[in-house]
Amino acid sequence: MKSKTNQVIIIYILISMFVAIVSHKLLLQYISNEKLPFYTFTRDILFIFFTGIIFKLILSKNDNRNIATFEKIKNSNNEIKQSNEKYDIVAKATSDTIWDWKIEDDNFSWNKGIENIFGYKQEEVGENSTWWFDKIHPEDSIKMSIKLYSFIEQKTEKWQDQYRFRCSDNSYKYVLDRGFLLKDENGKAIRMIGAIQDITKQKEEEQRLKLLETVITQSKDSIIITEADSIDAKIPNIIYVNPAFSIMSGYESDEIIGKSPDLFNSPNSDVSELEKLLKAIKNKEECLIETISYTKNKDEYWVRLSMIPIYNADNELSHWISIQRDITEEKKQEKEKEQLIRELTQNNKDLKQFSYITSHNLRAPLSNLTGLLNLIEDITIEDQELKEILSGFNKSTHQLNDTINDLVKVIIIKDNPSIKKEAVLIKEIFENVFSQLNFQIELYKPIIKLNFEKVSIINTNKAYIESILLNLLTNSIKYKSENRKLKITITTEEIDDTAVLIFKDNGIGIDLARNKDKVFGLYQRFHNYPDSKGLGLYLVKSQVETMGGTIDIESEVNKGTTFTLTFKNKQ
């Protein structure tokens, strides 16, 4: 521009000098002296006019050129401005962190993301690549820098990498970094621009899924995933099996994928169970079956198999999941148990039958004896010796009869695990029992104290509770102390949902230290009394337990005995 101006001025000076000299010479030659001022003036006017026109030409031409240049500059300025604005908008809008690395000067700059995402304030951010490398997790940094330098040296086409980047609070974020190179005219890399994306969430989700996946891969239960739709009313085709399945069935996953689980069916499979399964698949319902399956080697095994329909977000059936467990051992044990129960039940039935037959066969001749003795009662016998013999006969027969009747009661109780219960007024039961023992009560006149204020009704079997109380009272009278008047105290109490009946006497007692575990046993006698059969307390305990109650004893020799009977009162 300047050189152009100088050029114009020099040309102008030279031309005007030339014109001035030529016109001066011409004037001196042709014009007379008196007219000289007029011509000089005319010449100057012409000269000014002439150069003015030349100036106009030159300047206007220059002007045009300048305007064109200015327009060009203005346009390119606008373009730059727009481009800058676009860059700013993109840099702001993207969640990525953008970096710009001038490789030769090792000048590194970051956009706002370094603060927004990683928490570094503007003043904390270093201006070279060392700062960047420094923030990369030590375990990732070597692998990352190898890949990066191989890209800068243009040995690789593309560069993107995942690594952990340290935040200002020293936590690490998983990032995906992608970059491209800018090269000079010689093809040398001079600048690199990259975008860092925070993929911590995706990475954590990935790790969570990996963890969940271990449930499937490590599970001891077999897991199969099948397609949603079944073909030809078969079980839908398999798309996945876990390792446990391969162990159970003998099929490797690549042998079985794309096939229907139908091929596991063995001739001994439970047809009704399989129908249940197919029906559930047809109705898209969950189901659980147990059946016999085939392994690859045609070995049979018992399997418990669930089939669960899986629906996608649109509520359409997308897959089926089947969880299977080998229950061969379980089934074997179950079978053995069933066999054992069958045998025990049969044994029990046989024994029961045996006891009924035995008792019948004992009772039949015994009833004859009793009947015959009843007939003798009406006959007057003169012979004293015969009378004595018959009396002994009579006593022994009745004793045998009592024993057998008690045994019969035991058999019937043991055969009746559930017995009819009703609400029974305790007072009424005692009235019945006392009237049966009227003779003995009149004879010994015991002090009997009753207190049924707290519980007056218990839920029990009337015949049983009568038999129990009759036995306990008879025992108290039978085993009373000779040194003091017999005193019996009977009270009831309510504890939680149970009715408790406490039966206490001051008799001769039982040495529990010696006999604790035998007290309620069969044929256990603790005192040498002629009419004791060792059955009473066994019968009492059997009857209490048949009604769902419990009985406990406390006793001290020569002080007395206390029985505590507990009954469930609500049913």
Partner: protein, 137 residues
């Protein structure tokens, strides 16, 4: 009230002897017929049936004392035949089971036969007969 004829079915001769004596003592029945098992009893009823057909009346028992456990034919089998169409002309005859059994199932089973009016435990006694007299009134 005294019955004209009763039938005792039992395999045990002592039991039958006892029955005869006690029944005679209580004046329960004029005549006592005995059978040793169900089959013998059925043939007795067949005889009655035959003779009746020949227009010659034989008195029939009004009550049967029946034991359950007997050889050849037990009480249950007897009841099954006796309850059938074949013996329908005797369906007014009442039966008392007289047994030493203690099996509660036997008691339940006896209720299925309409002619069984009671289930009593041996031995037969005068008080038992008094009770039956009242029941039959």
């Amino acid at each position: 009230m005294m019955l004209d004829q009763i039938l005792c079915i039992d395999d045990d001769p002592i039991t039958l002897m006892l029955c005869k004596k006690v029944i005679a003592k209580s004046s329960f029945s004029n005549e006592i017929i005995t059978s040793q098992n169900g089959e013998e009893a059925l043939s007795y009823f067949n005889t009655i049936k035959y003779t009746n057909n020949k227009n010659k009346q034989i008195p029939q028992p009004q009550l049967i004392f029946l034991d359950l456990n007997m050889p050849v034919m037990g009480g249950w089998e007897f009841l099954d035949y006796f309850n059938s169409e074949e013996f329908s002309e005797f369906n007014t005859i009442k039966v008392v089971v007289l047994s030493s059994t203690i099996d509660p199932e036997d008691l339940e089973k006896s209720k299925q036969y309409p002619m069984v009016i009671d289930f009593l435990s041996k031995p037969i006694s005068q008080s038992m007969l008094e009770y039956l007299k009242n029941k039959l009134k």
